[in-house]
């Protein structure tokens, strides 16, 4: 590695050029210079010998490649140095190139080798958007030490990940590594940007999470003109009048627009930040993704600090010095007068992008690795590439836990224009909130406008809550899986109780009644249905005010119903004239009003109206039919008239149906109440759920895993005890070890001892059993004698006790006897087994 500090070199070169320039200077030039000096204040020159960047405290904790350079790397660094020097010489007024900064261990490394293309195990990170967002979330932003100077240290992506912080260059290296790993044609860009971008100051930007895709493509359905399409009727209106009117209207609109624009301009003026004295000088790094790979249609930038995609024509980016990926380094040779907008990103065009390493892809005149100028001349003919050494960085790895936690310590706060965004890791907060967006009305962030909260893994399935403080409306959305299939709930924050204004949406395909939406106001309730077998799609109920009751409350205290309106879709199995479209139960006026479906060739539907018979509610008598109860309009005289019986039956059906529908309405009201009760309860408890796939948090799964492990361990232990080495004690006794070969005599001795020991133990065991047997029988005998002696004057209890003892003792004796016999049978077999085993033992192989 050369000892020359690159910055030192640069400053020397600069000085040289200044001196030569001075020699040619005439007086006029001097004057001009003076004048210029008055206009532009000379800036502080960078220090001649910048302090050596701080090393990390424990370089030995890092792998070797971090702490030293391989030969190849040295070679490349020399080459880089050469390139830099030459570049500086040819373009003295350009800023130094960012090529070989120090790494965290204080070693110079070429920037291309700092990129370590990696694909992570998270499928989410395969997409650039997620990837960029992850990097932006995962790291904590640190400003550059000098806003106009390139940093001297560039961390490896592994280090950046470990400490979870970095400047824009560190961000870019990490992101580029991941993007290249995922197959994108990504580059790191070193250049200049505005103050807001460099400082990650987003307080003037509208929060991207709030910008919804409003671009709804309104496909204008062009009416197809058939051969026989009829001509439209003649327009009898005056065209002149119409044009005059439209002119006047246009004028008004224009004026309004003008005023609006002016107002906006005024607002923008107010909000405009103070001018930036360092405009155009602030150094920044970001990532560029070229079109071509991974179906990227157009080249774009990614602002690494925020994770947003930016157009290459964005005016926040003021210029590009150089770009690089893990293979090569290109210097921009195009003018950046109007920012990055005019740049061409064809890196193969050497007139626009000066490459550093000749690459196989774009074989242009080669610049072989050289130490001196003389060699360069010779080697022009030699077709030899300097290929880059592999990256010195270790493989990038992120644990699942860190990936889930994302932000440093699991939370992050970002400020946007009149907006605060807080991100939390799942399971961090008590209510499992993962995102909170607080919008304000003013820039000082005092007046709340709206709060958006997002949740995950909640037992009550809520996933989002939007509280609008201006209208007082709250919107909650839920995932599938709630008991009443609630999907969305919109209500007034101040009036959360039942019978107030609210809109509930449901997962209608899960509900038996096909309810899609229920809208409520204090006096009305509308329900919308879908896909019902009875074709009902709409039901509206109009309530009356509750009548004040005096005295004790009886059971139900519902609001009285004034009117119920039901609407049905067309049932094509029936004739249009017999298929009800709208059915109004006018309870207040004691009427039924029916409108049928309109036949497609007719202009008006048939209608029918029934009055309730006066004694309809009297269960004791049947009501009488008379023609005055019924009134109808038939759209055509071809339709068949209904007979009186049918009408009578229809009316009685309606009367029954009214009761049914009423009870349905009551049920709906009850349902609303129960949902609201559930909600209030859930909000106080805020239970969390854990996915069965989340082995880390699922207690059951954990327990199960532990159990399995425990079982395995136990199994192991048992095996170990089972396979106890029968020779070990004797080997130890003799001072022999397993590894040493055992002589024949020793082996024979060993065998002898082992067998005799076993024999002894078997005999001991038999003796032990025998002894116990004898003891037990003696005891028994004694007891018997005692019993016979005292049998006469014995109490009943004592006798009982004695009998119990006898049966117990007999049992024990019997068992011992059995064991003894069994032992007698087994002992010789055991002995034989041992003998065989000893014969087969490899350690005693000398025996034969």
């Amino acid at each position: 590695m050369s000892n020359d500090d690159p910055t030192e070199n640069d400053t020397e070169l600069d000085l040289d050029i200044d001196q030569t320039a001075e020699q040619i200077e005439s007086k006029e030039v001097q004057d001009l210079k003076n004048e210029l000096n008055e206009v532009i204040k000379p800036m502080d020159a960078p220090p001649m010998f910048p302090p050596h960047p701080v090393k990390c405290l424990n370089p030995h904790d890092y792998p070797e490649s971090y702490n030293s350079n391989s030969k190849k790397e040295e070679l490349v660094l020399q080459y880089v140095d050469n390139f830099k020097t030459q570049f500086q010489y040819i373009y003295p007024d350009r800023k130094t190139l960012f090529m070989a900064p120090y790494n965290e261990c204080g070693i110079e490394k070429f920037v291309c080798t700092t990129i370590r293309p990696t694909i992570l195990k998270f499928s989410k990170l395969y997409d650039w958007k997620e990837c960029a967002q992850f990097v932006a979330d995962y790291l904590q932003f640190r400003l550059l030490k000098e806003p106009t100077e390139l940093p001297q240290i560039l961390y490896s992506p592994t280090h950046t990940l470990k400490i979870q912080e970095g400047n824009c260059f560190d961000y870019s290296v990490l992101l580029a590594s991941l993007l290249i790993g995922a197959g994108y044609d990504a580059y790191i860009v070193s250049g200049y940007a505005t103050r807001e971008v460099c400082n990650m100051d987003q307080s003037r930007i509208i929060c991207p999470l709030l910008i919804k895709s409003m671009e709804k493509k309104t496909e204008v359905k062009r009416k197809e003109m058939g051969k026989y399409t009829v001509k439209p009727p003649k327009d009898m209106n005056s065209k002149y009048q119409a044009s005059q009117e439209s002119k006047a209207k246009k004028k008004l609109e224009e004026e309004a627009l003008k005023r609006k624009l002016e107002y906006e301009r005024y607002l923008a003026e107010l909000e405009r930040p103070a001018a930036d004295p360092l405009y155009g000088l602030r150094v920044h790094a970001w990532v560029m993704v070229l079109s071509g790979k991974r179906e990227v249609a157009e080249t774009f930038f990614i602002e690494t600090l925020t994770g947003n995609a930016v157009s290459t024509k964005d005016d926040e980016y003021l210029g590009i010095e150089s770009v690089w990926n893990h293979k090569n380094y290109w210097v921009n040779m195009q003018s950046c007068i109007d920012g990055t907008a005019g740049l061409v990103f064809d890196l193969g065009d050497s007139s626009k992008w000066e490459y550093m390493l000749p690459s196989n892809d774009k074989p242009i005149l080669l610049m072989p690795p050289t130490e001196g100028m003389e060699e360069e001349e010779e080697s022009k003919d030699v077709e030899k590439h300097l290929d880059l050494p592999p990256s010195w960085v270790n493989q990038i790895d992120i644990t699942l836990k860190d990936f889930e936690r994302r932000c440093p310590e699991g939370k992050k706060v970002v400020f946007y224009k009149k907006c605060k965004v807080e991100k939390f890791a799942p399971y961090l907060l008590k209510d499992n909130m993962v995102l909170k967006i607080t919008e304000y009305l003013d820039s000082e962030m005092k007046d709340l406008k709206q709060i958006i909260e997002e949740f995950v893994h909640r037992a009550d399935k809520i996933n989002k809550r939007v509280i609008n403080f201006q209208t007082g409306w709250v919107l909650e959305t839920f995932d599938r899986g709630r008991s009443k299939f609630l999907k969305e709930h919109r209500y007034q924050q101040s009036k959360a109780g039942p019978e107030n204004e609210r809109i509930m949406h449901f997962y209608h395909d899960s509900r038996v009644d096909g309810l899609k939406c229920r809208e409520e106001t204090p006096t009305e309730m509308c329900e919308h249905f879908e896909n019902r077998p009875d074709f009902l799609y709409y039901r509206k109920v109009v309530f009356d005010k509750r009548q004040k009751k005096f005295g004790p409350q009886d059971g139900d205290n519902y609001r009285p119903i004034l009117k119920i309106i039901e609407r049905y879709n067309r049932n094509y199995k029936r004739k249009a004239n017999d298929d009800i479209h709208e059915l109004i139960y006018n309870i207040e006026a004691e009427k039924f009003q029916i409108t049928y479906h309109r036949e497609s060739t007719k202009i008006a539907p048939s209608t029918r109206e029934f009055l309730k018979p006066p004694n309809w509610n009297d269960k004791s008598t049947t009501w009488n039919w008379n023609l005055d109860l019924h009134q109808t309009y038939q759209a055509s005289n071809e339709y068949k008239q209904k007979k009186n019986v049918e009408l009578y039956q229809f009316l009685s059906w309606l009367i029954n149906e009214e009761e049914m529908v009423k009870s349905m309405v009551r049920k709906s009201e009850e349902e609303v109440k129960s949902i609201l009760n559930d909600r209030t309860h859930e909000e106080t408890v805020t239970e969390k759920t854990v996915s069965i796939y989340d082995t880390d948090r699922n207690e059951k799964a954990k327990q199960y895993k532990l159990d399995i492990e425990k079982k395995i361990n136990e199994e192991k232990l048992r095996k170990q005890t089972h396979e106890v080495d029968y020779l070990a004690p004797f080997l130890a006794e003799k001072g022999l070890s397993d590894k040493q070969p055992i002589s024949a005599s020793a082996a024979a001795d060993l065998k002898e001892r082992c067998l005799s020991d076993l024999k002894q133990r078997l005999i001991d065991k038999a003796n032990l059993i025998q002894k116990r047997y004898e003891a037990e029988s003696n005891e028994m005998q004694k007891k018997q004698q005692w019993y016979q002696a005292n049998q006469i004057n014995m109490s009943r209890e004592d006798e009982q006790e004695y009998l119990e003892y006898c049966s117990d003792a007999l049992f024990r004796i019997h068992i011992l006897e059995l064991r003894l016999n069994r032992h007698k049978e087994k002992a010789p077999i055991k002995y034989q087994e041992m003998e065989q085993r000893l014969r087969a033992d490899p350690r005693l192989s000398q025996l034969k």
Partner: protein
């Protein structure tokens, strides 16, 4: 009921019996009273029960057109008859009668449930048209052989079958046999089918069933082929080119032409004939292709016309309907207002306003109607013009083709004449070979006879060609004329009448409605 047969006089289905039955089975209580007042219409009755009536002959039921359910069980019926008119019948109960033969059910194609329980039937027959049969009860009859199972295979919808009490049920393999042969059945003899038994049966009768199935498949294939063939001929007929894609027309030339057939036997004529045949058929085929293409064009034109016509009508109807809906809203408001107003003068004013609105609505609806009439008239005229152009074009082309055919015939005639004359010469000279047919020798007596025969044959051919041409042209002209006429009649005249009547009816209704409550209040 056979035991009563001798003792009690059978009764006749007469008006009285029907009336009593309907009244008994009809609505009860208040509804019954109303129904009685309304009077009974036999064609309105949906279900009828005539059980335990000691009926011998089924008759006088022809009026019950809408009847869905008919119960004639527990009578003494001996013959199924008099049910031809009950086309909507889905449920027929003839159990406990004395029927010996299944018949007279051909028209009851909607029949789903048929019960012939406890009769004297020994054979299943005459049921092929009952495609929708789902439940069939034939228990307690005289069925004695396995043919019934093969017969029942054709009822794809059949799910429930009752056979209990037939002599055949005594056979040991009865259940597996039936289950294996009738795989569509779910219930047999009041019981859910035992799948194990069915599997066993399928195994045992595997070969038989395989044979049956392959036979059925072959039949089905032939049926389908015939169907496609029929369809194609139908399509060709619609294009007026049936038989033109083969040599059918050519062969028909010689069908009744005995002279021509004979003349074709002279030496050298077969070459001429082959040449003629090829040319003739190629023109025919050309005509066939042309006709098909023209038919597609015509169809497109007609389809386009109807699409636009219906669209225009739809738009107009929607507009009118929207206007009416607006009015209905207005009406609702004004009725409410009227109900609240007690002042006579104000009420009067409101009523006048309402009347004005009704008139306005009438104006609007009528002007819409006039507008659509104009629009339709225009496109119908255009369509008529285009269609007649097309037809004329077609006729011209066809005439051209037939001209070609006639030319071919003329050439053939001349050539044949030539060779005939030379043959005649040779015959006269006695140069012809011995195998010269005797029939021909009779013709080749002298020149006149030969020429006459030739001329007759030629005339006959020309006549055939001409008649085919006339037929084709008259058919297409007929088609276009009928269609245009129909369009004028239906779409211009009748539609307009209907709409105007509807508008006036509606307007009258609106007028009357508002006055009614007002009158009541007075």
């Amino acid at each position: 009921m056979s035991r009563l047969y001798d003792t009690v006089e059978p009764s006749v289905i007469d008006d009285k019996m029907l009336k009593t039955c309907i009244e008994e089975q009809g609505p009860k209580d208040e509804a019954g009273n109303i129904a009685k007042k309304d009077g009974i219409l036999y064609e309105e009755v949906l279900s009828l029960r005539l059980d335990f009536q000691n009926i011998l002959r089924v008759e006088n039921l022809w009026q019950f057109e809408k009847l869905i359910k008919l119960q004639l069980d527990n009578n003494v019926i001996e013959k199924i008859e008099g049910l031809e008119n009950l086309k909507n019948l889905e449920w027929l109960d003839l159990s406990f009668n004395n029927i010996e033969k299944i018949e007279g059910l051909e028209n009851l194609t909607k029949l789903k449930d048929l019960s012939l329980f406890n009769n004297q039937i020994s054979k299943l027959e005459n049921m092929n048209t009952l495609e929708n049969l789902e439940v069939f009860s034939i228990g307690n009859n005289q069925i004695n052989d396995y043919d019934f199972a093969l017969y029942l295979r054709q009822f794809k919808e059949l799910k429930t079958l009752c056979l209990k009490g037939n002599p055949i049920c005594e056979k040991p393999e009865f259940s597996p046999y039936v289950l294996a042969h009738l795989t569509q059945i779910i219930y047999l003899d009041y019981r859910l089918v035992d799948q194990n038994m069915r599997a066993e049966g399928l195994k045992r009768f595997e070969i038989d069933i395989g044979q049956i199935i392959s036979n059925e498949e072959a039949d089905e294939k032939i049926r389908q082929e015939n169907q496609t063939l029929e369809k194609e001929t139908h399509l060709n007929k619609e294009a007026y080119v049936e038989g033109l894609n083969s040599d059918e027309l050519f062969l028909s030339l010689f069908n009744e032409d005995s002279e021509g057939q004979k003349l074709n036997l002279i030496p050298g004529a077969d070459d001429l004939l082959a040449d003629y045949h090829d040319k003739f058929v190629s023109v025919c085929k050309e005509m066939y292709e042309y006709g098909k293409a023209q038919k597609d064009l015509r169809e497109n034109e007609v389809g386009e016309f109807w699409k636009c016509l219906n669209e225009a009508k739809g738009v107009n109807t929607e507009e009118a309907s929207a206007a009416i809906n607006v009015f209905i809203e207005y009406k609702k408001n004004i009725t409410e207002e009227l109900n609240n107003i007690t002042d006579q003068v104000v009420q009067e004013a409101k009523l006048n306003e309402y009347n004005d609105e009704v008139n306005k609505l009438w104006d609007k609806l009528m002007s819409l109607e006039v507008q659509v009439v104009d629009q339709l008239e225009e496109i119908i005229r255009e369509f008529e013009r285009n269609l007649s152009d097309m037809v004329n074009n077609f006729v011209e082309q066809i005439q051209g083709f037939f001209g070609q055919l006639r030319d071919l015939e003329n050439i053939q005639f001349e050539k044949l004449q030539e060779s005939c004359l030379s043959t005649l010469e040779r015959v006269i000279k006695g140069e012809v070979s011995d195998d010269f047919p005797d029939d021909l020798r009779d013709l080749f007596i002298d020149k006149d006879t030969v020429v006459n025969a030739l001329q007759t044959s030629h005339d006959l051919h020309t006549l055939k060609i001409d008649s085919r041409e006339d037929d084709m042209i008259s058919k297409i002209k007929n088609w276009s004329n009928t269609m245009i006429e129909q369009i004028h009649d239906e779409e211009e005249y009748k539609r307009n009448r209907k709409r105007v009547i509807e508008i006036n009816r509606l307007i009258d209704y609106f007028r009357d409605e508002i006055y009614e409550p007002a009158d009541l209040q007075d």
